[in-house]
């Protein structure tokens, strides 16, 4: 074999070496490959296809990646045919690469991935989104850390109408945010590291993010889910925007736009206006109360027994607000679902009900009145039963009496002990799985100045309370295991207002 090929396949080393050694070797290997590429440029350009046949992307990922990076910039690879071949190599690489090797050279991986989804990409948008999604999930299978690539990919997916391929990525719950200063003393190739320790701007596997980028990501996820009518996921995504942490009275425009969509989707999902979660910041609540008022009134009208109010509120927000915020279709869908929710809620009152009575008790928010005929009710019920939103059957008595709806009741018997225990075990495992996440967050917070001062203050307060407790119990401070310097409390003695 050509000695040059031997250089390219020299990494990874045989198993059995520790992480530090592995990392050191990866850096030396990258250096050697860099020199090889520099010294044998013509050979690489002309024989790239043969070389890449010998270099397995799943095994020698680092060499493969560096060759791809070189080819993307190489002058001989600009023809249409060359581009097609390169696209095929890129796809092969991103679907198979070894994430451990890539962690050692994050910047190259990031640069090449950007070539997949940027505007001059070799791929059509649908393929770019699919390849990008696969690459990100290969790097961090838990999908728990947000990267700049996530943000760019979801934007590309939504703007080009390729939501489907990005769904596996955006359905993963984001827990960590990349931040500078997160580099660890452990080698990045240590597979036991939690995602924030190796995916951060220092490792260059992601760029730094801003609050706007994070909000925009969740907002776009909400839009993607909305497009797919995945209401629960859309609701959760917009809720993440609505409850986004703020400080010093801040509130973003995206948050208010998300709030309006969150209300509309809440109505579709649950049939009632959603309540703001406790974690919503006070500043955001104030802004929502004023800027989101028309939507809130619209949602309140959804609760009424007659459609008149809802139609009126729709007419109030329709001319200006809805088109400006792209909510026209969503609001129309809410109107269409008003009567459906009325029918679904009848299950809480009736077991059997005639179609005529349904017509009498429910109203269409699209016309502002009852449906024109029992046949129309029949059709609506059939469509609801067919799409699974209504659990019931339309009974048609043979004696000629009018048809009626029978609601199918949920099983009244509880789960058996075994079934219940299995379910509890499943959720308990979910809760147990939080342990490493909490550990990683703890480690991360350990370097946060504000968190440290908060923790010290809490410890100080606890010690003070303990001291007061001992004193009131007749014990002396000397007995306390805490030895804290006395500090003058300037606020003591001032009554609370």
């Amino acid at each position: 074999m050509d000695s040059r090929l031997t250089v390219l396949t020299a990494f990874p080393p045989a198993a059995g070496i520790d992480n530090e050694e592995y990392y050191k070797e990866s850096q030396q290997h990258a250096k050697r490959v860099r020199e090889l590429l520099r010294d044998n440029a013509q050979w690489i350009r002309e024989s790239a296809d043969d070389i890449l046949k010998h270099v397995n992307p799943a095994v020698c990922s680092l060499s493969y990646l560096m060759i791809l990076e070189y080819l993307l910039q190489a002058s001989g690879w600009t023809s249409q045919q060359a581009h097609e071949r390169l696209a095929s190599y890129l796809t092969e690489f991103f679907l198979q690469f070894d994430a451990r090797q890539i962690r050692c050279k994050g910047s190259i991986w990031s640069d090449v991935l950007k070539e997949v989804y940027n505007e001059h990409s070799l791929f059509p948008a649908s393929v770019a989104v699919e390849v990008g999604t696969a690459a990100l999930l290969r790097l961090d299978p838990s999908g728990s850390i947000l990267t700049s690539h996530h943000c760019n990919l979801v934007e590309l997916a939504y703007s080009t109408g390729n939501v489907g391929p990005v769904l596996p990525l955006i359905q993963k719950p984001i827990i960590y945010m990349p931040a500078k200063g997160m580099s660890t003393t452990q080698p990045l190739c240590d597979m036991s590291l939690p995602p924030p320790a190796y995916v951060n701007p220092d490792s260059q596997l992601t760029d730094g993010l801003t609050s706007f980028a994070v909000l925009q990501y969740d907002f776009l996820c909400g839009l993607c889910f909305t497009e797919r009518r995945m209401w629960q996921q859309a609701f959760d995504a917009f809720e993440r925007c609505v409850t986004y942490p703020t400080r010093d009275g801040g509130c973003s425009k995206i948050m208010t736009e998300a709030y309006n969509k969150w209300i509309l989707i809440g109505l579709l999902l649950t049939g009632k206006p959603p309540a703001l979660p406790e974690t919503t910041s006070q500043a955001a609540k104030k802004i929502f109360a004023t800027q989101g008022k028309p939507y809130k009134l619209f949602a309140q009208a959804f609760k009424a027994n007659t459609a008149g109010n809802l139609v009126r509120e729709f007419e109030v927000i329709n001319p200006e607000l809805l088109p400006n915020e792209g909510n026209v279709e969503l609001a129309k869908l809410v109107l269409a679902h008003y009567q459906r929710w009325q029918i679904i809620n009848l299950r809480n009152v009736y077991t059997n009900i005639s179609l005529d009575k349904i017509r009498e008790l429910t109203q269409s928010a699209e016309t502002g009145g009852p449906l024109p005929s029992v046949e129309a009710v029949d059709q609506l019920l059939q469509s609801m039963i067919a799409d699974g939103s209504l659990r019931g059957v339309i009974e048609r008595p043979t004696d000629g009496s009018p048809a009626y709806l029978t609601f199918l009741s949920a099983p009244t018997q509880g789960l058996s002990e075994v079934e219940f225990s299995a379910k509890v075990n499943k959720v308990a495992q979910g809760i147990k799985a939080l342990e490493p996440i909490i550990e990683a967050t703890n480690k991360r917070l350990a370097s946060n100045r504000e968190y440290i001062s908060h923790t010290v203050k809490r410890q100080f307060d606890a010690a003070r309370e303990h001291k007061l407790g001992l004193q009131s119990a007749g014990g002396g401070f000397e007995e306390s295991p805490f030895h804290i310097e006395e500090e003058e409390d300037l606020m003591s003695g001032i009554p609370a207002h």
Partner: protein
Amino acid sequence: MDDQKLAFFTTIEDQGSVIVKEIPKFDLDLYIQNYQGRTRFERLFHIGRSSVPLCVDALKAAVQEAKAGRDILRYQMAVNSLFQAAPNEPEALLDKAWLEAQAKENRDTTINLQAELQGYKNNLIKESIRMGNEDLGKHFEAIGDLEAAMDSFWKMRPDVSSTEQLVDIGKLLVRVAIERHDWKSVSNHLSKHVNSANDSDPKAKALKTYSRIANGIAALGQERYKEAAFSFVEASSDVAPEVYNQIASPNDVAIYGGLLALATMDRHELQVNLLDNDSFREFLQREPHIRRAITQFVNGRYAACIEILESYRPDYLLDIYLQKHVPKLYADIRTKSIVQYLKPFSCVRLDTMQKAFNGPGPSIEDELSTMIKDGKLNARIDAINKSVMPLSTNSRQQMQSYALQTFENYEKQSLDRIRRMNIMAADLEVKGSRKPGATNDIPLSMAMEDAGGLA
């Protein structure tokens, strides 16, 4: 109804007040004899403006009552109402001479009492200052200046020399607060001034009964029905009505207590707190229909209970404190009766229920439907077979779903909170300029155009 009366009640109805067209069961003269003090006028005037059959008699009695006192505004109000309802009655003409003389007398008395009080203050005699304030307060109360009366009674506090005096001040303040329908003040003054720990002492017992009745009226006014019910039930029938007849009569105690208990207590509580309560049974003897209604309810004959109460609805709508609450209390009693009625059955036909609870409201099916929607009744209606089926609560299933829901929520909330912590740790919060309403990001529509500006 003649034209004047019709116009009079049309105006009142337009103002949103309740009009009672049915003839009440009580006799106006006997009814008003139960009360003393300013509440007599208030009740007469209220009946005059609410009851079509008793309008003229009540307003004429109100005019006489006002003229026997010193409150010229009340006199004018009563004459004015009577003039609108029955202009041909002799009492409907304003006695201007009396009005002017009374106004002058009121002014003079105010000046004299204020001068006397000033004299006492100059002499620094605490007892005289207290009495001076009391006289002035009572004078203000009599002429209808309740705010000034409250003020004067309040000023008595620094000069009290015994607990009894403090209690007396409390009772004066409570009386005025009740007249002003200032229910929070009533509760405050009762808790601050009017309480007694010793039940064996007759005076203390009287005080306790006064306090319980006043507290019941205040709690009723604030729609704290269960508290009000227990307050009335704790009143002692051994105490002479004169102790509390400036705010309520023993009949009122029976009616208020009975109705509120029916609306808020279960059958066992009714039995223990009302029917087995010797003291309250004495009150109930004055209003036997209330006792009958309670007994019927306790015995499970709900329809009979409701029928009795419905027949007395016009009477209760003429009560100054009860009127506003009658629809709600009756609805609560009816709802409770329906729930209790359904309890022993697995399925009840709607026509049977319609017969049992044939009320003035909507059909029983609509009523049941509303109750189920409001969460007051756990049942389902079969509108085809015309029956209603109470649902038994499956505690085991509830526990299971609650437990699983709690676990899931815990996991979801934990993840959300960890995510928030990580956002804050990465210094990625949305920051404002400490001005609520500040927005520090560009609109999304603009941002979408500016793709690539993420980092």
